[in-house]
Amino acid sequence: MAELLIRVVDKVQPDPVKAERLLRAGDVVSVCPDGWPWTVIERTNSEWRIIRVNLLATTVEALIARSSNPLVRRRREWKLDFSLLPNPSLVSGARTQEIVPLTRQQVVAAVVKKAAEV
């Protein structure tokens, strides 16, 4: 099992070039072992959610990897598309639970590769 700290809204940056290089909604911020002692800020920041899921290491690697193309500046090549989760409200709006448990199938179904940078 792992626990994923996920950004649920884009980090605001008026400069569009710099904004592309920040973490965006659906990007994984950090991956930690199950039972990780998340801090109060991490558990309550409205821009983040924590998901507990049993993922293959390769899936975790994909979620935190940048593109192998050095010209691509964004941090993550893959993200979670919340609309593909069975209950998107778990990661939007008011926080209803400190850690959201999801199954591997649910998360894998929501992992999407980002469109090419323009």
Partner: protein, 340 residues
Amino acid sequence: MATTNTIGTTGRDYSTLQSWEDAVPATPTGGYIGECYNDSEFTAGVVVDGHTTSAANFIRLTCASGQSFQDHANVRTNPLIYDQTKGVGVVASPFGDAVVRVSDDYVEILRLQIKRTAISYVNAVLEFDGGESNSLAKDCIVQKTHNADADIVRSRETPCRNVIAIDTGGGTSVGFSAYKAAGASPKLLNCTAVRSSALGAGGTGFSASASYAPSIAVNCASFGWSTDYTATGWDTTNSGYNASDGTAGPGGNSQDSLTYADQFESTTADFRTKSGCGFIGTGNTDATLAPNDISGTARGAGTAGDIGAWEFQAAAGGDPEGRLVGGKLLRGGLLRGGVL
């Protein structure tokens, strides 16, 4: 006034370096400082990118007081190599990224130990990947233990001071890679690049290229590599006072062809310089150079400091032979600042 947050485990503001960075506003008004605590070893790295920074709106990642290897009670006798039991350490092998990567300007990485243990398609340990002439790496131990080609420290414009790059893994690696297509030259000041003698010679200690803006190396030491300093790519007017066990470094006043084993306490596990080292007291005295060494010890005391990240001092109360107090015994028997 800068905003300071703590990073560690129990009771800290953030438990990972990346969550701290992500929480720093896109414009870090007044400056944002992340202070690491050695509650446990950090097992993931950090990317600092996408922020609108300036001299006033900077980002600094460092250790809280008492938490760095530099603050350890036995810092002068501890082996100079990555050891998280002596202070904050970050060990990771992120897929496709450096352990610590900085792409913003005005970012400081201070007093940290950083190590990479496994390969991916990017193998760097500490990377500044362009446009950071006002950023700084200082007082850091940077080590790789994986056996693959890698730049241990990759600096595009960023000055590095008192940084030691250690290769105990192998491959055709580079200690410090200093390239910048244009603009400010990378400056490597009082940096040490060492490759464990257990690996045999290989790789390059300090690398620059004539295809890029010339790099500057002053007071740097390079040992254990096949190539200590690349032959081209250096600003030889502003470089100098470098040491190696091979050919001379860029600029004048070099100490070259030194015997590796005679310079360090160990050539595999402790890269503090030792008594009789050939580059003690042979550094430049330029006031812009680091006044203290990687352990926080004052350099030179009014005379020339040492080359490299470490400043040798005889043990208080005398050298091993009991003749000297608080001074330095230089190669050739010269005595500086000592009390007989």
